[in-house]
């Protein structure tokens, strides 16, 4: 169905989207790149000039930087592992014949609709707070000292909060995929002598590969930029214990008011995101084809 005229029309119709996205991506990126080589501090606006790679060097020499890189990867990786694993288990459970499946789905999907600042502040205050939180109450009822979540386990706390937000997404997509598995395939496997575990390992999980791929791809896109949850809860602390790369950049821009450094950090973050994106698209693109 491709004639010359329809191909021309197609080009014209894609053009606005491509142009807008290009501008949306390139203009701020170019400006960031420019600032990253400039001395630009809001505290001393008179002193400007080219500084070469100074801003970048500062980042690479800062001990916080490597910590932040590590934290970013731990956050993305941790949330992925938790949501995919739990998502598979919960999907397997919900897919069983149970009473009230409709209402149950509504309950499970709810956290996905909660906006990040609300999710973070509710979990931080109502649950993780060492004096008034529900978790503290449980600890004390069992005769233990309350756990100082944000103080002692900042990264784990953030990962927990973000996982709660994303678990419904993973569960629902995996459940959808599970429901499309033909029961004949499972029955054939059973006739072939496969036990429950073998059926999971050789039939169900391979069938879900595509869904798992989608979950990883989409979540990574959103998780790399996680910011609000940290801002609301730990503010990157204590010290820099829960500072991720986006948060470190934010601190340079807002707290230190050093636009040049923040820009250099931004460029590093973009490069990091592109590396992750490249591997994701390559590795996962194969799974998504066909």
């Amino acid at each position: 169905m491709s004639t010359h005229s329809s191909r021309l029309a197609a080009r014209l119709m894609v053009a606005p989207s491509v142009a807008l996205l290009l501008v949306w991506m390139i203009v701020p990126l170019a400006m960031t790149l420019y600032y990253s080589f400039r001395l630009y501090r809001l505290i001393s606006p008179d002193r400007t000039g080219w500084t070469g790679f100074t801003n970048y060097v500062w980042f690479f020499q800062s001990p916080d930087f490597w910590l932040a890189m590590g934290n970013t990867l731990v956050l993305v990786g941790g949330v992925l592992v938790i949501t995919v694993t739990l998502g598979i288990l919960i999907a397997l459970l919900i897919d069983q014949p149970i009473k009230g499946q409709g209402v149950l789905r509504i309950l499970v999907i709810a956290p996905f609709f909660v906006m990040p600042p609300v999710a973070a502040s509710i979990l931080e205050n109502l649950f993780m707070h060492p004096q008034n939180g529900l978790f503290a109450a449980v600890s004390m009822a069992l005769g233990y000292e309350p756990i100082l979540f944000l103080q002692d386990y900042p990264m784990s706390s953030v990962i927990g909060i973000v996982s709660w937000e994303w678990l419904p997404f993973a569960t629902l997509i995996l459940l959808t995929s599970l429901q499309s598995l033909s029961s004949e395939q499972l029955e054939a496997a059973e006739m072939d002598g496969a036990g429950a575990f073998s059926r999971l390992r050789y039939i169900i999980l391979p069938h879900m590969t595509r869904a798992i791929t989608v979950v990883i791809l989409i979540q990574t896109i959103f998780l790399l930029g996680i910011f609000g949850e940290i801002f609301t809860t730990t503010q990157g602390g204590p010290g820099s214990a829960s500072t991720t790369l986006p948060y470190m950049i934010f601190k340079q821009a807002i707290a230190a008011k050093d636009i040049g450094r923040a820009a250099a950090g931004g460029i590093i973050a973009v490069i990091l995101a592109n590396i992750v994106a490249y591997f994701l698209m390559r590795g996962l693109g194969r799974n998504l084809d066909n």
Binding site: M1, S2, T3, H4, S5
Partner: protein
């Protein structure tokens, strides 16, 4: 009116020549069938005529006017698609009326034409249903209805019966033939099924690898295939081909003999029955003939030959002779 003339029509997708160059004249009122194995370019050729694909070079004339660069709607042709391509969100009535609505015809005339088409196609009781509520055969009729209301110069059919079950297919085949007899409009019909081609066509165009192998009336192709490809493609079961010493006796590289042209009984050939299929009216035997190879034989229904029996065979009809290039002698 619907005379279609293709001159040196070529179509390539990138580097690949799907159709290297075709000349063909389709006369007004003819029922022409394009037949060939899958991938032979028959559907592409139909889509070139429809205007759904651009020709790479060459010209397409419809009723003497150059239509090569006209958009599909301006060519005055109607098409019935393999999947019927009905609009699922419209009722049958709206489906059939859609081309009229697009042409800006007034409502009264639209209604009149739709009613008339529905009557011809036995769809009058289904006009307010949606395609999803119809059976396969009924959907097929709606697709045809949508084509006939436009009163096109020619109808194009792209394997229209391939989604129907066997019994329905025979019925629809006859309906389309009858439609052609009553409308007398040019029809171009694409299929891979040589039975459809033989039963429906005035003229068959046998295509292979984007080239026309032979054009002719059904019996002409059956009786005088121009080459090995046509000989093998037309006729069911397939023609037997024999090479070697037996062919040399007839001064040919290859000889061909149709299964229905071999008689069981006394004869020069002797062999063992491998497989025998008894259909009642006919029996198809696969016989491993000494010194020749396996031959398919179409014997009368009551022949009693079974696996392992040794029988004799005699040629009882035309023997086709082909040279080293596969051309008929």
């Amino acid at each position: 009116m619907g005379k279609i003339e293709l001159t040196k029509v070529r179509k390539s997708f990138g580097e690949v020549d799907v159709i290297p160059g075709i000349d063909l004249i389709i006369e007004d009122g003819e029922f022409v069938v394009f037949v060939g194995p899958s991938g032979c370019g028959k559907s592409t050729l139909l889509r070139l005529i429809a205007g759904l694909e651009d020709t790479t070079s060459g010209t397409i004339e419809i009723d003497g006017k150059d239509a090569t660069n006209l958009p599909p709607a301006k060519r005055g042709l109607a098409m019935v698609f393999q999947s019927y391509a009905l609009y699922p969100h419209m009722t049958v009535r709206k489906n059939i009326a859609f081309p009229l609505k697009m042409a800006g015809m007034d409502q009264a005339e639209q209604d009149k034409r739709v009613e008339r088409a529905a009557k011809v196609l036995n769809l009058s009781n289904y006009l307010d249903r949606r395609p999803g509520q119809l059976s396969g055969g009924q959907r097929q009729r709606v697709a045809i209805g949508r084509a006939i209301v436009r009163e096109p110069a020619a109808f194009l059919f792209d394997e229209p019966l391939s989604n129907l079950d066997a019994a329905l297919r025979v019925g629809m085949r006859q309906e389309i033939s009858e439609l052609h007899q009553s409308l007398k409009t040019t029809m171009i019909y694409v299929t891979h099924d040589q039975v459809e081609a033989m039963t429906m066509a005035d003229k068959i165009v046998v295509l292979n690898a984007g080239r026309i192998e032979q054009v002719g009336a059904p019996l002409e192709l059956y009786n005088f295939p121009r080459n090995l490809f046509v000989a093998g493609f037309i006729g069911s079961p397939r023609m037997n081909f024999i090479e070697g010493a037996e062919a040399a006796k007839h001064n040919a590289q290859t000889i061909g003999i149709r299964p229905e042209h071999i008689a069981v009984g006394d004869g020069p050939w002797e062999g063992v029955v491998g497989l025998s299929e008894h259909l009642g009216s006919d029996s198809f035997l696969k016989v491993a003939v000494d010194g020749i190879g396996t031959l398919t034989v179409r014997a009368p229904g009551e022949v009693h030959a079974h696996h392992g029996d040794r029988i004799r065979l005699a040629p009882a009809g035309k023997i086709h002779r082909f040279d080293a290039n596969g051309l008929a002698l």
